[in-house]
Subunit: 454 residues, 2 copies
């Protein structure tokens, strides 16, 4: 799925599971998940239903929906964050672009955030007016406003993200001395064609410029530090309202960023820089005291969150559709440590990305799948050879063993795991799980449909 893809109309979303449990389920910030308004209209679905009203914002009530990328041409007429800036007196037609996402130099000149070279400057607004600060306040508004029912808030901060512009003091809180050395080079085999095509993209090539990482990464780190401070504020607010004792908190991200590692920028492909995300869960209940402040090295996936939330809310996880596993048993030590997941999977489809044209690949064949365990990371491409990294011996993923004769058995095992996963995905959403187990509604034979009896 790309940012602009409509998903299958019948796909069940978090809100579909939480709403029947009495939850108000809303988003502050971005979600990038939508259903097709054209399909909704053509089926005559009630346009006042939550299904239709929340179709553009991933099923979440768009309490303060803010997709976070608003050049002039696509800035909506009625947009919360822009309205907020205008109310503050910013006079530009698009203060999101000209203020919040532009840098300002000592002489007061503006520098567009669409150029990475501007990331050395602070944003042309004070921190309190930034998207991050606005989102935090709107989250508090939502919580204040929702005292009468349980809620689930998807607080989805835009930053750190393009344009890489941080408000003061975060723009220069870090310097080159704070950043990790670049990860690149190594390996004796030629670069993989798909990886190479991503390296040809502008966002990758820019990072090869002398000094660019030293300028951009500190600003990026500043944006992270800003989030950190804001979460501190949010948690203090929640504590003051007694909500820390009753709220499950998950901190995570949708992807990482290469920031120049492996000669790449952006978020595609499967190196740890891109595919590994922060994942912090706080279960406030005493059942979770035994694991509090501990960390684990298990292979969890974002798909585990829906069942975690549903179980926390007291619901029953939909066996016919949900692929993930609730993390509550892990948090509450009711799971034996060896009984988790053997492999983690990740998929990309670069059909709408630059490399498709460069590689002359047909759409729908621009697909790659990662299978990883703690020791190996295997990547299967349509139309190209596979990649394999030994994460134990080569944690920086520099030596591609995808063609090494010595790793044939490993590749076979990873390929088997990939196929096992692909073939067992829950495609039969329309048949009752308990029925399959023989516990559900009557079967054909009980109705008198007797097949093949002498």
């Amino acid at each position: 799925m790309g940012n602009d893809d409509a998903m299958q109309l019948g796909e069940r979303l978090l809100s579909d599971y939480l709403s029947p449990l009495g939850y108000r389920t809303a988003v502050v910030g971005k979600t990038h998940n939508r259903k097709s308004r054209e399909e909704i209209t053509s089926l005559g679905i009630d346009s006042n239903s939550n299904f239709a009203r929340f179709a553009d914002s991933g099923g979440f009530e768009p309490y303060e929906w803010h997709e976070g990328l608003f050049p002039d041409e696509i800035l909506p007429d009625d947009h919360g964050y822009t309205n907020y800036l205008k109310d503050l007196g910013y006079e530009e037609a698009n203060p999101w672009d000209r203020r919040a996402n532009s840098g300002i130099d000592e002489k007061g000149n503006l520098h567009s955030g669409w150029s990475l070279r501007s990331s050395r400057y602070p944003a042309a607004i004070p921190e309190a007016h930034s998207e991050t600060a606005f989102s935090t306040r709107r989250a508090m508004d939502f919580i204040n406003e929702t005292s009468d029912q349980p809620w689930c808030l998807h607080l989805s901060y835009i930053k750190p993200h393009w344009p890489v512009i941080a408000p003061a003091p975060y723009h220069n809180m870090y310097g080159p001395e704070d950043i990790k050395p670049v990860v690149k080079g190594g390996g004796t085999v030629p670069a993989h064609p798909v990886v190479d095509a991503f390296r040809q993209q502008e966002y990758s090539k820019s990072y090869a410029r002398e000094g660019l990482r030293n300028m951009v990464i500190p600003a990026y780190m500043g944006l992270i530090k800003q989030i950190d401070d804001h979460l501190g504020e949010l948690f203090a607010f929640m504590r003051s309202k007694g909500l820390m004792e009753s709220t499950l908190i998950v901190f995570t991200s949708d992807h990482g960023d290469y920031l120049g590692d492996h000669d790449l920028g952006e978020k595609d492909l499967f190196h740890d820089q891109s595919v590994k995300v922060p994942f912090i869960l706080v279960d406030p209940g005493s059942e979770a005291d035994s694991t509090r402040n501990t960390s684990r090295n298990d292979l969890v996936e974002a798909v585990d969150l829906v069942p975690t939330f549903v179980e926390y809310a007291g619901g029953k996880v939909c066996q016919e559709r949900v692929e993930g596993r609730s993390l509550l048993p892990m948090l509450r030590s009711t799971l034996s440590p060896d009984k988790w997941r053997e492999f983690a999977f990740s998929e990309i489809d670069y059909s709408e990305r630059g490399p498709r044209e460069l590689l002359n690949m047909p759409p729908y064949e621009c697909r790659a799948t990662m299978v990883a365990n703690h020791e190996w990371k295997f990547i299967h491409y349509l139309g190209f050879t596979s990649q394999l990294y030994n994460l134990s011996e080569d944690p920086q993923e520099l030596n591609d063993l995808g063609q090494s004769p010595k790793t044939e058995e490993v590749r076979k095992k990873m390929l088997d795991a990939l196929l096992q996963w692909k073939c067992s995905l829950k495609t039969r959403v329309g048949i009752n799980y308990n029925y399959l187990l023989g516990q559900g509604p009557k079967r054909d034979e009980e109705y008198g449909i007797i097949i093949g009896r002498w």
Copy 2:
């Protein structure tokens, strides 16, 4: 998908493509494809829309929808074929069961069609009252009634099917001398566990009874001959109306039947008996004259029919969703013979079938996929070893080479093909194909979203 599974609500069906082209798209007979009424209601979809009205009959207008299995408990109150029999004077509450699908002996005693032993008797109705004859007449009614617009009729005869009861004279038109010898035995490796579990099912075991094939298969052949005669009638009718010059006709089936071959009954698994189906196309246009009355050995699949129909109707095949390829170029010799499909695929999920319990398999893992070309048939199972047959040397599929060291390279190639297919299925239905090709709506960058520029 099983007979009872609801499909994804947003799945596009043949009628979704043909209706906008002005076609009336209806079913006479069975379809076994439905969308969930519960989902339709919960989304507030207009219950008078065609989408809702035709949701139980696969999107087809249920002109004479007749699922064909009606023991007493599930016989609907208002059912066309039953009403027809009652109007004729049959007095039973369920004449479908007691008459059309019961045999009658010389003394007038009835024998339930739910027992295979009854297949020696003629049906307890005259041929003219049978399901097959009824369906043919209803097809003619539909055609007569639809002179003002183009139409597509899914004439889906129930028979040959359980209960295996043929009306006279078809019940004894064939005898043991007409049937092919049973295909079984051979092979030096132990039976595959999943195949073996299917062999334990009642419908398989029955066929092992002495003399059963000699009794049942002639009746089954009679039911086929009856279809043949009825299609002759239908085509004569169409000829009389001048419709043979303007109607694309496809004759096919949804599956075969083991009828005792390989010690199996019914239709599961992937031997040719089950997976290979009749496939006759008549394109009336002069463009197809060059291929008229010829046969081909290409690997076509049922999914090729939707694009064939859409193209014949003058529509544009939906690139974002349709997996098959239009067969018109093949019929019209505008396709070079070498440019078709390299592999054919078929999938089963036996989660709701008897073998699941016997094998103690979890639901959603009861899956197997066939990959075949002209030389090899490879079957991948979740949880079990693979099977491989050399169709050139062993056309009866008796020698399973799935574990043979000599065929490792072949298995690798077939596994690659399986993965290629699985990974390239069209899951991104919500993004425009032309957009992916760079010909569609504007891209992010044209709107001013510039990612990673220095």
